[in-house]
Symmetry: C2
Amino acid sequence: MFKAMPKENLYEFARQAIPCVGFNTRRATRLITQYYDKALAPADLRSTQYSLLSALSMTDEVTMQDLAFVLAMDRTTLTRNLSPLLKKGWIKVSVGGDRRARPIRITSKGKTVLENALPFWEKAQSHILDNLGDSKWDQIMKGLHKISMIVEENPL
Amino acid sequence: MFKAMPKENLYEFARQAIPCVGFNTRRATRLITQYYDKALAPADLRSTQYSLLSALSMTDEVTMQDLAFVLAMDRTTLTRNLSPLLKKGWIKVSVGGDRRARPIRITSKGKTVLENALPFWEKAQSHILDNLGDSKWDQIMKGLHKISMIVEENPL
DNA sequence: TAAAAATAAGTGTATATACACCCATTATGT
DNA sequence: ACATAATGGGTGTATATACACTTATTTTTA
């Protein structure tokens, strides 16, 4: 059934056949993440790990909860996602003034890894933006933002 | 650092601070998938499982490879994702004329599950589309499609 | 036709994701 | 002050994701 269909039409087909907003965003995200994963492979980093280091590089210290909130990531997912970074010594987790809290900070080793990864990320990013156009990306981003607001503010 | 920031501004902040296309699409997709997961929970279905059943309901039989291609999902990921559906008897995997191939088909039990899930999916979907507007979604979808084409056709 | 290349799919491993439940610590109400 | 609420995090479990490697089968080629 699908085999005969030209590749260009498959997206249209999938979209018509499976109009689900969730499916279609997941589909695109899979492809995009695979792209960045491949781009970052020479720097020994996965997409998510790059994002985490990138976020941590912009603040001195941040607690699990706060970081999870900014990333719109479940708190427990963040714990798991940070674990490989911790193992590799790219981040440090300590104990806060509130002794329940676990402030996280990037290490100098982590900063070096991030700096080394930057050109690889840059290449992937500009590849996309050069072909898409900044204003188009801005438009998509605003749209995704809007959907995010809707799902966060309209509990079922 | 993040704690004081009002929620509305956090998206903007994250976007400015982490301009990565991959991060931002993943972030939105996490929220959206959580939303559909919650919506589909009463039907005992996850978002991905709903998509898979939905795709399978539109064809008589399809091989792993073909389905993986349509879904833009790694072939091995598909194998893993189908496994809970198989365990529950919602799909059937057989052996094709080409004895390497494994044609998949949805069972009548699977069809029933899908039908029961439909109103829950509908509610989540229309919640989003009613608040977003069909044309806006069309625009976003076209954008994501464009990015998908770019990353598929511009190997690094 | 037999050897080599290509193809369809599964497994081992590692990360990504989130819910339910648990523990430790802090804040609150009386 | 003490019992109770609330809060910050981690673990157990299950699914989602994909790469490297393997196996079985088909196709191609010398």
